[in-house]
Amino acid sequence: MSSPEPIPPPNDRRSSRASSNASLAVPTLDNTREPVELLVVGGPPSTPSPLALRASNSPSSNRRKSRIAKLPPDVHLLEYLSACDSNLICLICHSPFDKPVQLACEHFFCRECLDHAWDAQHDAQKTCPTCRGRVDTTREPLPVPKIIATMLDELVVKCPNTKSGCDWIEQRVNVHDHVLLYCEYTLVDCPDFDCHLYITQKDFHKGCLHYTEHQRTTCPNRSTACPHCSVELLRLELNAHVKDICPKVIVPCPGTLVGCTVAVERADLAGHAKGCSMAIMAPYFRDQQARIERSEARLEPLSRKVGILEDGLSKITNMLYPPNANDSSFPVTNPLDPNSDAFTTAPLVPTPDFRLPPASFPPVPPSHDTSQTPLTNPTPPPFDSQIHHLLTLHGSLRDEVSRIANALTDYEGRTNMMIINENQRVKDEMLHTNAAINGMRMQLHWLVSATLQQRTGSTNSTGNSTSRAGGSTDSNASGTQGTNSNLGSRSAGASATLHLPLRRLSDSTRQNTKL
């Protein structure tokens, strides 16, 4: 049987058992534990058991007040299903042992019975109740062999609440838990705070039945007469009688709902209702009303859902097109502040960049602010058209920009092509010009040398041929130089080609003079 005695920590228990095995010094004689055990088993009902005290200290005790009154079952009062082996019977209480102990003379007793028997004896003179052998209280009592405890645990008992109706029959070891935790017939404190009686666990949730019971059966003033119909009845039931049954009470016509003002005694009501059209219509109206209420009830979650969806939509819109508060071209107002300047200035803000048609961008009152509370917006169309307008505007602008970009790249390509073509042509022209100049120089050279030959006569023909060869190489070099040079140096090159032959001329003349 699990007793609610304080459980020592495991180390403590092991050491105490070890010492009892070694020195036979038994810790169960410890006097501090006696009162606890005495309270647990067989204490008078007024004595709070340790378990009850623990329960009353627990935080849940306020709610589960039922635990407080519970008392652990008294093992001595248990009813055993079959006769118990006489060797398991305590000689003092004549019941099967409860928490037995053993003396050195091998006589067994319930711990409680032995303590009780020893109450009158002095410590030094304690004797075995059976054999009167002297007991050494420093060593005894001893623990009993395990098999004794097991045999006792396995005794089959009936629930102590059998008389109240519990049919639980099981091993004795389980009776403590059954009574304290599971038995529906265990007495607990009445849930009514002012009632000091007990009630079975299974009726705990019904509240205090004692007063009702008293009112029904024992109270000398329990019956009374109805003030309306003089019928004798229980005072307890008077209210219900007047409310629903009494034939003399004045009740309104059921047609009150529709407007009938007649009120008659309940007994006469049926007669009136038969002729009263409003009473006939009343059920129909009541039905209608119920249906309306049902619809309204259904409507409420729907409107809440719509609100949530609108909220979500506005959040998405905000995320995609965050309102730019610094952009004066876009009116942003604080909808929570009706006196805000934006209320008056916003509609006046010009929006020339967007070239908004005035119809699609009406003045925006604060509540129409798209960025803040579209939910409270009573007229959504302006909001829609504005956003749409901006969106389309944005799209068309984007198209425009891309078109312009395309045109630009196109134009750039064409320009490049044109420049290249022009270059080519200029180069060709220059080549032609160079060739022409060369031809002219050759001619000039030939003419000059011809005239020089004519002037000098037949003098120094070898020198003449030398200068002629030098002149031809010079003209070749200047021709290649001319094709490589830029367009801008055309005139300079021309002057140089004109000048070079002159220098050659002077050179040759100098040569000639030197020669």
Binding site: V41, C93, H94, T127
Partner: protein
Amino acid sequence: MALSKRIIKETQRLAEDAVPGISAVPHDDNLRYFDVTIDGPSQSPYEGGVFKAELFLPDDYPMTPPKIRFLTRIYHPNIDRLGRICLDVLKSNWSPALQIRTILLSIQALLGAPNPDDPLANDVAQAWKQDEQAAIATAREWTEKHAKP
């Protein structure tokens, strides 16, 4: 209470499994109060007599011995004029392991074996010591006179 359960059990057993020559019946209105009869043991001056006694179980029985007193007058060195009995198990030698049945058997045994050395009724003990035969005759005479049904 646990210990009154023992009283109930003892009472049941006394009724179901009676000891020959001894009876103990509780009063209906007080289950701790018993009407007791003890037959005089054979081969004793009390043979043939039926001695009435009253037995009362105190509140703390079995931790204290039952109180028992002869109602029938008896000539015995250990029983006084008021019917009080001098028996060690009823006083200092009481043990909670004893019970009504064993106590009554002890008393019956006391009738069979008077002990004048530990007297309660001094005059009877005196007579018993001085002339045992005469005392036994007186005892038999008293039995005849008071204890015959």
